[in-house]
């Protein structure tokens, strides 16, 4: 192991700090911070989009978020929050652990 407590340097690296963190801020066990294959994530998000469309929920997009890609991040209005809560179990069944509204500009 090399390095000190290691804050994120923005570069991909296999160095591990004494506290177990990879210096680029990834997971202690070496998995990437992007969580699984991009094709798999895309398939899951498309499935969620189809689900939302079937239920008439207006949204701008769905992305897999988080270091493990296990958050279904939905860009939609605040008013959609309650309806997304109602559908949370169905969304999770499509391969996500959490369902969340994406906050920020354009959300």
């Amino acid at each position: 192991m090399t390095g000190g407590a290691g804050e994120s340097g923005g570069r991909s690296t296999d160095r591990v700090a004494p506290n177990g963190e990879s210096v680029d801020g990834g997971l202690a066990d070496g998995r990437s911070v992007n969580g699984g294959s991009e094709d798999g994530a895309r398939a899951r998000t498309h499935a969620v989009e189809r689900l939302l469309a079937r239920h008439g929920i207006e949204f701008a997009g769905v992305k897999a978020a988080g270091h493990a890609g296990d958050i279904a991040a939905v860009t939609a209005s605040a008013a959609s929050r309650a309806r997304l809560e109602d559908l949370a179990s169905e969304i999770k069944a499509l391969g996500f652990k959490y369902v969340a509204l994406e906050l920020g500009p354009g959300a």
Partner: protein
Amino acid sequence: MTDESSHHTPAAKYAVLTEILRECGSVCIGYSGGVDSVFLSVAAVDVLGRERVLAVTGRSAAYPGVQHRTAVDCARRFGIPHEELETDELSDPNYAANPSDRCYFCKTELWTKLGEFARERGLAVVLDGSNADDAGDWRPGLLAAREQGVRSPLLEAGLTKAEIRALSKRRGLPTWDQPAAPCLSSRLPYGLAVTPRRLRQVEAAEAALRRRGFREFRVRHHGDAARIEVAPAELDRAAAAAGPLWRELREVGFGRVLLDVEGYRRGALNEGLPVMRVEGAA
């Protein structure tokens, strides 16, 4: 009221607690400033007197500053003898890797140091504030306590969280309705390494929510993303505050800010883990 049911009232359980404390003689208490440890410490002082009680706070980067302030304030107001020591669980790679039994390594560090502290000061028994509700949850920290010879008198007396809150209120403790305040590492999903930077981000993000008047919440760290959980009754208010929350959490270093649509659920990260039964319950 039958003789059997009279043993199960909060008053009866408190009587059992006082007997346990007398049996201990002198105690060193792991004192976080939470509902349970404040209640236990005040009870110990009431039963044993200040000379036979010492409440000790273990401080590290994972210990929330807001809880430290409560710990110090309550110790001063209620005459609890209080000291602090530094714990270094983040230097333990077993802890920093953030496995599902992370608490075992944290509490091993804490109780090892408190045990030495107690011996140096001639205090007979080390106590923790685990309560009867903890016996049915995933609690690797309780296993560490047992291995270190720590007693859990609230749990032994059968006192539940609700009963402790009620007794705290009766005693005039300001912590009676304080929300649960686990360490900051609990905001990182198992497998995401615990680092000082991530803990600082979580603490700053939760301070932003606290300033906006949210009372029961967590900010979960998912690498680049912050996932906010608030109490179900406050979800719509949080959604309406999307813009300011996004700006403030971006300022503490999160790339994406998310609001969990289901809200805050205590122990959600433990869903799917086995229940760990630990001896010592009444």
